[in-house]
Amino acid sequence: MDESVYKELKKGGFMRQIQNNKFSLRIRIVGGQLQSEQTRKVSEIADRYGHGYIHMTSRQGIEIPFIDFNDVDAVKKELAEVGLQPGACGPRVRTVTACQGSAICGSGLIETSGLAKELDAKYFGRDLPHKFKIGITGCRNNCLKAEENDLGIKGGLFPEWHGENCTYCGVCAAACPEKAIRVGRGPDSLAFDEAKCVYCGKCVKSCPADAWSGKSGYITTFGGTFGNDMAFGKPMLPLITEKKKLFRVVDAAITFFAEHGKPGERFRRTIERVGEDKLKEKLEEANR
């Protein structure tokens, strides 16, 4: 097969298999969610065009292996009937992954599924110097492993204490993983060391008296990669409490990569080569 045809197919989510003219079709799935009619269609396609099974990818996706080159168009058409399309491979923005977040999970501090859809609508498939992964996780439990991604987003909560409701029971101090809270007995005996706070929200969640509330926001990390090179994404900004600012920050990071990245270079390498301070400057500007 002509290499240019292969590249075009790869761009459109068809991964060439070792078997001649067979492709593993990656489906565009956002935040790990599919409608039931879509899963039925995927199942049908796997039966009719593949080998009757699907493969769950490491990033919440589904691939249907053994699609023949001659069936590519027919399969795309069938997927479109239920609003599905092939995913992305190659040097571009990939599937936006997400945990179920605060809509479902008791630990969740931010809404994640809708955020994944919004980011996907804006950036999915955008050509960049290398692959670019975005992952969203609802809280510091980090089920979705935000720091593995080129851009990680994690729910956080900036806590506020309301003395008038406090019973000084000490649950928050016990729940705080950073020992940022000290509680004695009796009125005005609570001390909160803001500098130690990691925005996990455990004080707010554990408080039996509604003496803690919080403003939720986004903890962002940049330059994570977990393939040949392995490195955690780095936090470069304080908790972002406005969604519109988050969008500006995401835009600044992707623009930085598009402008400074060399072909075949992951975001992490670009940041190292061009300078972390340069990126930080752009991100801070976007977060103003």
């Binding site: 029971c169 000490g170 016990a174 729940a175 554990s206 408080c207 039996p208 008296a209």
Partner: protein, 82 residues
């Protein structure tokens, strides 16, 4: 400091989530509204979640004591938030 008297006691340090809360609930079911229960629980996940779950079910946490062995004693009043 005088510790309030409790009507019942349950130790949940020998079980893990979600049995921790199940055991707590069973102990509370034995009590009438307004009666109190003392619970011995482990550090970490139990102390982060049990008080929250109790609040969600309208019981009032009135005391938390940290023991020297890393466990906690919490006092709760059945239906104290209703």
């Amino acid at each position: 400091m005088s510790r309030p008297k409790y009507d019942a006691f349950v130790d949940i340090t020998d079980v893990v989530c979600p049995i921790t809360f199940v055991k707590t609930k069973v102990a509370l079911e034995e009590l009438g509204k307004g009666q109190s229960l003392q619970i011995r629980l482990n550090d970490g996940e139990p102390i982060q979640n049990i008080p929250r779950s109790l609040k969600n079910e309208k019981h009032k946490v009135v005391e938390v004591v940290q023991n020297d062995d890393g466990t906690y004693l919490i006092g709760v009043v059945k239906g104290g938030l209703e």
